[in-house]
């Protein structure tokens, strides 16, 4: 048990308010200046089933949901048993630690005990004093949990007040219920042996989807068209709730095909716009990705992965859409794929994507997964300054305007409807520099080759401007762990664990997934092993890496729908290093 941090898990059925309870707890910590990461384990069902929400809060930086579990709030008997059992298998999540406590209603009985501290409480009784149903028992339990780690009640009361703020009296009732839980625990139980240091400056607690939303807006996006699909909807919700405030437009049309074509239309007309979905919905956008590529219309696509194939596990996490994204659209055309590593980077790469799309006039993907898009992290600050790069734009009134001018860098000047004297046609058929179609009467194989070369040249220009690849504890590493996107935090923590055991391992963290930065070839050179960590079955990134680098790699993969956990991952990496499996 790390006494500088606390891990709390709220467990119950869908509809029990597990998630909102978890968020109150998380926010209580972020307001106290702690570093927080949350984890959401839930099912594709609106009522019932088993779900839980975990909050890891630390006085030190944290980069994943972590190992360890100090407090369980169990809203039903299943929760009491499930999380205290050391043989638990929830996809790698830790069972309650020996010194941990489990808080639950005293009516729950007949569970097996496993040696931790069981704290039955009159949760429902207290709740019923303030409400005519038992749902408020969560609040009571939260009060108790906060008491167990000596978080001051005022902070909690503030968060509860804000959460139920709009409802006035309801807020007060909840605060009072929480207070009773708080006091009950103080009176009847010993606090946990923790050495948490609370800060004074509150931190931002931000979800991955929110950060994408913030990033896109900061990058100049004014129009977003999307059709709801988990886990891409968290960003969509951000736009829904801020459209009027920011004077931006969210359009939810009849389907994803319409959504992407709308986003292309808006971009064509000179308004930065984006679309997004998860794999199933994105599948329907595949044809139009190629359209944007051919017309050289900027297009940012937010792709939030969940486990497939097909509907798969709609509320679980996986990195299984890379093949889909890399293969989207017939023929070859430039595309850029970014994969943020954490919430803050969702913001940074989200807005960078907007500029890249404008600069290179081609589809730019921002790939996350359910883990990243639906979890919350604390962020100290956001750099709100950003320079919008409009890319090449033509001045009005040009004779013989060449929309697809065959330039050295492959990038040609854009012109927007409404600009006088630049009328031209943008065509999904192959075309010459003027945008005239070369697939009909004037066909000429040489024109085709010229057009292809021009478009693809943009990727060479981009490659020259790519930022160097991130590494972690890499300078003296004998073993290279390569990861992409959201697994960075857990990989870094696994590297720390292995380093503590004296194993010289370091990480390569790929945020700019496609095209791959050639510097990775230099980085891996001479390493004893190259271990590629992926949250999928097939090693989709691994395949890309191998085809580019022509090096042998060793896979570490997970495809049970849950994220990696640092301890589990460190073990698996160690097995590979020791030559096992």
């Amino acid at each position: 048990m790390n006494d500088r941090e606390v891990v709390i898990r709220v467990s119950g059925a869908a509809g029990d308010g597990v998630q909102s309870a978890g968020q109150i707890i998380a926010k209580s910590f972020s307001r106290k200046g702690m570093n927080v990461v949350t984890y959401n384990y839930y099912q594709d069902i609106v009522r019932g089933g088993t779900s839980w929400y975990q909050i890891r809060a630390s006085s030190d930086p944290v980069r994943s949901q972590g190992d360890g579990l100090d407090i369980v709030i169990a809203l039903n008997k299943d929760g009491v048993q499930r999380h205290t059992n050391p043989d638990i298998d929830e996809g790698g999540a830790s069972p309650l630690s020996k010194e941990g406590i489990v808080i639950f209603d005293k009516s729950i009985q007949g569970y097996e005990e496993h040696g931790q501290r069981y704290v039955p409480m009159p949760l429902s009784d207290i709740a019923m004093k303030y409400s005519n149903n038992a749902l408020m028992r969560n609040t009571v339990a939260i009060g108790a949990a906060m008491a167990s780690i000596n978080l001051d009640f005022e902070t909690l009361a503030g968060v509860i007040g804000d959460q139920f703020g709009s409802k006035g009296k309801i807020a007060d009732l909840n605060v009072n219920a929480a207070k009773e839980g708080y006091d009950y625990f103080k009176k009847n139980q010993e606090p946990l042996k923790k050495n948490l240091s609370f800060g004074t400056k509150p931190k931002y607690l931000v979800g991955g989807g929110d950060a994408i939303g913030l990033g896109f807006v900061s990058g100049g996006m004014k129009f977003y068209a999307g059709y709801p699909m988990t886990p891409a909807s968290s960003a969509l919700m951000y736009f829904a709730n801020h459209a009027s405030k920011f004077d931006i437009v969210l359009k939810i049309p009849e389907d994803e095909i319409s959504a992407i074509n709308m986003a292309i239309g808006a971009n064509y007309a000179g308004v930065r716009s984006a679309t997004g979905s998860s794999g199933g919905g994105f599948s329907l956008m595949v044809e139009a990705v190629g359209l944007a590529g051919m017309l050289e219309v900027p297009l940012v696509i937010y792709e939030a992965q969940r486990p497939g194939p097909s509907t798969g596990l709609p509320t679980k996490t996986e990195q299984g859409d890379l093949n889909l994204v890399l293969g989207a659209g017939q023929g070859d055309f430039p595309r850029i794929v970014l994969a943020p590593r954490n919430v803050k980077e969702c913001f940074e790469l989200g807005r960078e994507a907007m500029n890249l799309a404008a600069r290179y006039q081609t589809p730019v993907f921002v790939m996350v997964d359910l883990y990243l898009s639906e979890h919350y992290e604390t962020v100290d600050s956001f750099d709100l300054d950003f320079k919008i790069d409009e890319g090449k734009i033509a001045g009005d009134n040009q004779e013989n305007f060449r929309r697809y001018e065959d330039t050295e860098d492959g990038i040609s000047p854009r012109a927007f409807p409404g600009q006088p004297g630049l009328m031209h046609n943008e065509d999904s058929d192959e075309h010459n520099e003027f945008g005239q179609v070369v697939s009909d009467a004037v066909t000429d194989p040489r024109e085709r080759v010229k057009a292809m070369n021009k478009r693809m040249r943009k990727m060479e220009t981009y490659r020259k401007n790519m930022p160097p690849t991130y590494t972690y504890k890499f300078s003296d590493a004998e073993y290279a762990v390569v990861q992409w996107g959201s697994t960075a935090g857990v990989v870094e923590e696994a590297v720390d664990i292995l380093r503590n055991k004296g194993i010289r391992v370091g990480a390569i963290e790929v945020t700019h997934v496609f095209p791959l930065n050639h510097d990775i070839g230099d980085l891996v050179r001479g390493k004893k092993k190259i271990i590629v960590v992926e949250n999928n079955y097939g090693g989709q990134f691994d395949r890309l890496l191998r085809s580019e680098l022509l090096v042998r790699t060793e896979p570490v993969r997970k495809y049970d729908g849950e994220s990696f956990y640092p301890g589990q991952l460190a073990e698996e990496i160690e097995v590979v290093i020791r030559g096992g499996k």
């Binding site: 913030l214 900061s218 319409s258 239309g265 007309a269 945008g435």
Partner: protein, 289 residues
């Protein structure tokens, strides 16, 4: 109604660089002429016009007119056109395409765009055949018609595009015939002037692949129709159902309703193409504290 004062615009201002390469006699020529006439008559300048199309012979249209053109995907002109109009309401946006494009692949967009009353004009070159792919049955091919794909006769009941538009809630529903470009132009002018979704289905003979629905076929049947009360939905519906020896053309229905942009809190007040980028402020982050 257009708000800006009319410019002096000539039809030749719309003359494209690329010569239309449809088969000689193809119905699409009439629509091309009619659209140029209408735009010039309305005094709209070419740089404020966007023509969006799908894929098909008809959809090659934007290549042949001097304006901004967007030649996209089969069936997908309407979402593109909608968004262009929304983000820059100063533009005149025309979507153009074939019957396959609009009533097969694009049915869903047609229905929902009409329902939303997006302020664009949608003209379909309805030749009752797939032209570009050389003569397969289309959604408006008649029952029993022999085509490449229906050697024993078509068994899919044809779509009635006017009924589909009406039941979706289109606020301007018309039909015309390539045999009378002037009439198409008149209707097109009214369609462009109409605030809301205007739909014009044009009988446009495919001289190469449709030997049934020829100029003659339509010349014998079409007659001009003008409703007494263009807002009378039931009458419009009934007239639009007429088919056989006598087929009405004209504006069947027209009604003033709020457009989609009128109802949207942002679009109704902001031209996104001209609005400044939103600059995030520290206050915008307060909700996360």
């Amino acid at each position: 109604m257009m708000e800006s004062p009319k410019q002096i615009v000539k039809q030749t201002d719309y003359q494209g660089e690329v010569k239309a390469d449809w088969c000689p006699g193809c119905g699409n020529f009439a629509q091309l002429t009619a659209v140029k006439m209408a735009l010039a008559d309305l005094g709209i300048e070419p740089h404020n016009v966007v023509v969006v199309s799908g894929i098909g012979c008809s959809s090659n249209f934007p290549e042949f007119i001097r304006a901004y053109g967007f030649h996209g995907l089969h069936g997908r002109s309407l979402p593109v056109a909608s968004a262009i109009k929304w983000v820059n309401p100063k533009l005149t946006v025309l979507a153009y395409g074939g019957d396959g494009d609009g009533f097969f692949e694009g049915t869903q967009h047609f229905y929902h765009t009409a329902k939303r009353n997006v302020d664009i004009t949608y003209m379909v070159s309805d030749n009752q055949i797939f032209g570009l792919t050389t003569g397969q049955a289309s959604p408006t091919s008649e029952l029993g018609m022999v085509t490449k794909t229906t050697p024993e006769g078509n068994i899919e009941p044809p779509v009635n595009p006017l009924l589909l538009a009406l039941s979706a809630g289109a606020t301007f529903v018309a039909r015309a015939f390539s045999g009378d470009p002037k009439h198409i132009a008149d209707i097109t002018k009214k369609a462009i002037e109409h605030r809301g979704f205007s739909f014009i289905d044009v009988f446009s003979p495919c001289v190469t692949f449709n030997k049934l629905n020829t100029y003659d076929y339509f010349r014998k049947r079409v007659y001009k129709y003008e409703p007494e009360d263009p807002e009378d939905f039931a009458v419009a519906y009934k007239r639009a159902s007429e088919w056989g020896d006598r087929i009405p053309i004209g504006i069947f229905y027209q009604k003033s309703e709020p457009t989609y942009a009128d109802r949207d809190p942002v679009l109704s007040k902001v031209n996104l193409r001209e609005s400044p980028y939103y600059k995030l402020k520290e206050q915008d982050l307060e909700e996360f504290l």
